[in-house]
């Protein structure tokens, strides 16, 4: 017998046990009362059963005391659908999940370092009061903040997810600000650059963390959050779903999943979804569900800038990113928020080798004094830039309207689509016939004895020239297709472009308008 050996192993086990107990039963009960799961329960949901490997379990408060088990953050890796993913999970039961020196400078930093070293996705489970002010309120602040610089280096290399499961106040709100995907739990999560108490001190404004930065703000108004979810379990399921469409890093191809939906299936029922009246609205998400594989549609940012729809789906098992105009909201017109929403999504897909499918039905960019004050040229230019810059396979289906710069940013001919096709009733034009007559034939109409009749005649004449066979006749588009063929054309186009390689001139980086 080696008593000392056994005693030391027993001591190790006791130390582990203490830290696995997090902030203790009382704090855990309180966490559950708030409708939240603990950091460890969340990790169990995130990873395939039994795959979590923890690093830094024995970490403690920097003063060496046992006041902060694991220093308030659980870190390590595990598998999501059999693929390695790294996690940083803040433990609200320990000092309100506040970020301490050990947890941040050693534990979280190590996860960032290793995730990048192995080129694996990183997930933050955020439920934290922010920096531990007891440790961070002096000018040693000078040495902090490099976590965001790390995130910028990771951007476009490994997928980054910031799941909002509780508060995320102050500078740490830049974690979601820089992440690729930000689901938010309704009611319990919030993010703000200054928490409520700091806001009161700094400006006098009285507001709660929830009112200022809950999902009702960020998933509906600001666009900082992506998808609002009902509870912690839904949130984690949404994170897993998001990751299923992406490769582990930018050096890999997107995973292909057998969906059992035939690649050549004719798309039924589009005539009942898309109205014959070209001015009438419909829900483009019904078109997406009809065209793509079974239950594969996963919408991102569904509640913000609803005039454009973005999200992932599968086409013959291949993951794709979809950019679709939404006639049901604002007639599908593009405005600043819609352009921002699309541009960021397009760049994410391009960074991670996810092919893009553009479903076009766009009356153009919004015009007028209000949108010019909003800076629509600057915002619209982001979408133009993102589409032109993207070198992943790009397929364009012109369903109905294709007007003005809207046609360009939705991957028109000039933006190197791998395939560009139109439905028979497509309207491709710089502007509608009424607008064109007002500009081109204004004098002729004014000089006419019967201006209205002359105007109507000219409008009818121009309308005749807006038809897809003119574009197809010039071979500016590849084909005009029966809408029922849309699915087959998309799947075939993705196969056609599988070995796509585009070389562009060397540069440090472009200068995207922001």
């Amino acid at each position: 017998m080696n008593d000392d050996f056994d005693a030391r192993v027993a001591d190790l086990k006791a130390r582990r046990q203490r830290n696995l107990a997090m902030g203790g039963e009382e704090k855990i009960a309180k966490q559950h009362e708030r409708g939240k799961l603990t950091a460890r329960e969340r990790i169990d949901l995130l990873f395939d059963a039994g795959t979590f490997v923890e690093l830094g379990l024995l970490a403690q408060n920097r003063d060496g005391s046992d006041t902060a088990p694991a220093d308030g953050v659980v870190t390590g890796h595990g598998d999501v659908d059999g693929r390695q993913v790294w996690v940083i999970a803040y433990d609200f039961t320990v000092m309100a999940g506040s970020m301490g020196a050990v947890g941040e400078q050693f534990k979280a930093a190590r996860v960032r370092e290793l995730a990048l070293r192995y080129r694996k996705p990183i997930v933050w489970l955020l439920d934290s009061a922010g920096a531990r002010i007891q440790e961070a309120s002096g000018s040693t602040f000078a040495g902090t903040g490099w976590l965001f610089a790390d995130q910028v280096v990771m951007s476009g290399v490994i997928p980054q997810v910031a799941a909002m499961l509780g508060p995320c106040a102050a500078g740490t709100a830049y974690i979601p600000g820089l992440a690729d995907f930000v689901p938010m739990v309704k009611g319990t999560s919030s993010m703000a650059l200054g928490g409520a108490r700091l806001v009161k001190a700094a400006t006098g404004e009285e507001v709660t963390d929830h009112d200022m930065g809950g999902s009702q703000v960020h998933c509906y108004e600001s666009g900082v959050g992506d998808n609002e979810v009902a509870n912690d379990a839904d949130c984690i399921a949404t994170v897993r779903r998001f990751l299923s469409y992406l490769p582990s890093s930018n050096t890999e191809a997107t995973p292909v999943v057998e969906t059992g939906d035939p690649a050549d299936r004719p798309v039924e029922g589009l005539d009942k979804i898309v109205p014959a009246n070209p001015r009438a609205a419909y829900d483009v998400r019904r078109v997406i569900r009809a065209v793509f594989d079974g239950e594969s549609w996963f919408e991102v940012k569904p509640a913000w800038a609803k005039n454009i729809v973005i999200g992932f789906a599968r086409a013959g098992g291949q993951a794709v990113g979809i950019v679709a105009n939404q006639p049901m909201h604002k007639g599908g017109v593009l405005d600043s928020d819609a352009a921002d929403k699309a541009a960021r999504f397009i760049r994410m897909c391009d960074a991670f080798n996810v092919p893009l499918v553009y479903l076009m039905d766009v009356p153009g960019f919004m015009v007028g004094s209000q949108v010019e004050k909003d800076g629509i040229i600057r915002h619209g230019a982001k979408m133009l830039y993102a589409t032109a810059e993207a070198t992943v396979p790009k397929v364009t289906v012109i369903m109905r309207k294709a007007y003005g710069a809207g046609y360009y940013v939705m991957n028109g001919k000039g933006y190197q689509p791998d395939t560009i096709v139109a439905w028979p009733f497509a309207e491709i034009s710089v502007m509608g016939p009424e607008g064109a007559v007002n500009i081109i034939f204004n004098k002729q109409v004014e000089a006419s004895d019967n201006p209205e009749a002359t105007r109507a005649e000219l409008v009818a004449k121009i309308r005749e020239s807006i038809n897809p066979y003119l574009a197809a006749g010039w071979a500016m588009i590849d084909d005009v297709i029966d809408p029922a063929e849309t699915r087959r054309v998309i799947v075939k186009s993705l196969e056609q472009a599988r070995d796509k390689k585009i070389d562009r001139p060397w540069r440090k980086h472009g200068n995207i308008p922001v």
């Binding site: 009246n277 001015r279 009438a280 609205a281 006639p327 049901m328 909201h329 604002k330 007639g331 599908g332 017109v333 405005d335 009356p363 153009g364 919004m366 015009v367 007028g368 209000q370 309207k401 007007y403 509608g432």
Partner: protein
């Protein structure tokens, strides 16, 4: 009370409700015409129409109150 506002500038093309009408969530209240499109304005929730503040043919600004529900 809920104010239903125009989400973009345009003409009021058709008014499909009137004060006192009971409306369901998502029911069409009126249709705007803008950017070559007919843009339905729907009730954000079920309720009774208290006021219709616009007439057909009127030009409305973004954010202008069109209908008041209670």
């Amino acid at each position: 009370m809920t104010e239903v506002k125009a989400e973009l500038v345009g003409n009021v093309w058709k008014v499909k409700t009137s004060p006192g009408a009971q409306v369901a969530e998502e029911e069409e209240l009126l249709i705007l015409e803008s950017m070559k499109m007919e843009i339905p304005v729907t009730a954000p929730r079920a309720g009774t129409v208290r006021e219709v503040r616009v007439k057909e043919g009127e030009v409305v600004k973004e954010g202008q109150v069109l209908v008041v529900l209670e």
